[in-house]
Amino acid sequence: MNAFEYAAPRTLDEALAVLGEHGDEARVIAGGTALVTMMRQRLVRPSYLVSLREIAGLDRIEAANGGLRLGALVTHREVETSPRVRERLPVLAETFRRVASVRIRHMATVGGALAHADPNQDPPVTLIALGARVEIRGARGRRELPLEEFFRDYYESALEPGEVVTGVVVPSLPTASGAAYVKFLPRTADDYATVAVAATVSLEPDGERCRTARIALGSVGVTPIRARAAEALLAGQRVGADLLRAAGESVKGAVDPLSDHRGSAAYKREMAAVMAGRALTQAWDAARASVRGTR
């Protein structure tokens, strides 16, 4: 690794001041699982590291407007095991559980996973399907962005130099809804996905017709991808296995996978359709169960 200056301020304002002073020479570090690995491989060589780890208050999982707010320093393991998350949004706990190994989940943070902007990660896929918003702080104040607008390119986000992700706000699912995360990884359980799909399906009170659906995919492009055309096929329609399969099929038009050691682009495109169909079916089943449960 290259030599660098290191600061571990106790407040966010101090951290922002140091970042402002050092511009794009500085990088923010939290759990370090992504950044230290990249530094060891000499892919990044920051001259200044600003650690967020000693800042109090960024490590909370809180209720927010009926949904949840996850602080930037919350670890993946904490999301996975949080009784509050498991009760309100079990799909989110299940998604974080699919990341790497328990050991890495003890280190990797919610904010770090977003700021790293790696399209192969699990959490952004489900967070986008759930309609999450990312909270950002910078010297000029605070802003919020729908998470799907946050990712710009491979390892590139909408973060400006000097800005920090402070948390993510996840709305609760409407009534008569279900959600699912399907991670297809044919190699080992701690690998990145070959294709990942998260889906939500919200039904009309009759339990038959789809009100809205949201579909997001990971590992099939330079950012996580929302499949809006597939969502449009479902909105307002009477749901059935054929329609879900057709919606799954239509994600092929939204994805743009790269060929790599996890599979060829053509294979990943085919599997994206299959996995989207499965995610939608699971979400639909969960939504129907929820309708039955409220009757």
Binding site: M1, A3, I29, G32, V36, R40, L49, H106, M107, D190
Partner: protein, 156 residues
């Protein structure tokens, strides 16, 4: 760009001056002389460098030593008492939970962390917890058996 850090390692307060880029693993091995933790992959995948950071298992090869300032680290050297091995260590010996031994410190530290978190884990819980600890001798069945034995000596 050196920093002085104070940390507790295996219950003993230590102070050490290190370059900021020192990994926690290198600090433990080279600055503090604790060579039980090993470097395998160097990217957080294989588990040979597993240590406990404030009681939680982490990969010390991708942790910066400066991040341990003010924190508590437990390594494989901190598990045994003066006269007795830790029950997990004894179980690995009794059940043959290692072959060449290079992954063993990480396996044992991870297994201790598992039993701290889940005292009587199911086989599925053992497998999920330990999947990030690779054994190139592929002695996984014996490792699982060792952990089972450590959790519940009568069940092995």
């Amino acid at each position: 760009m050196n920093r002085k850090i104070r940390l507790t390692v295996n219950g003993t307060a230590r102070a050490v001056e290190i370059p900021t880029y020192r990994t926690l693993l290198d600090c433990l091995r080279n600055d503090l002389g604790l060579t039980g933790s090993k470097e395998g992959c160097g990217v957080g995948v294989c588990g040979a460098c597993t240590v406990l950071f404030d009681g939680k298992m982490i990969s010390s090869c991708i942790a910066l030593a400066v991040s341990a300032d003010g924190h508590e680290i437990t390594t494989i050297e901190g598990l045994a008492g003066d006269e007795r091995l830790h029950p997990v260590q004894q179980a690995f010996i009794d059940a043959g939970g290692f072959q060449c031994g290079i992954c063993t410190p990480g396996q044992v530290v991870s297994a201790k962390a598992l039993l701290d978190a889940i005292p009587n884990p199911s086989d599925a819980e053992i497998r999920e917890w330990m999947l990030g600890n690779l054994c190139r001798c592929t002695g996984y069945y014996k490792i699982i058996e060792s952990i089972r034995a450590a959790a519940q000596p009568s069940r092995a």
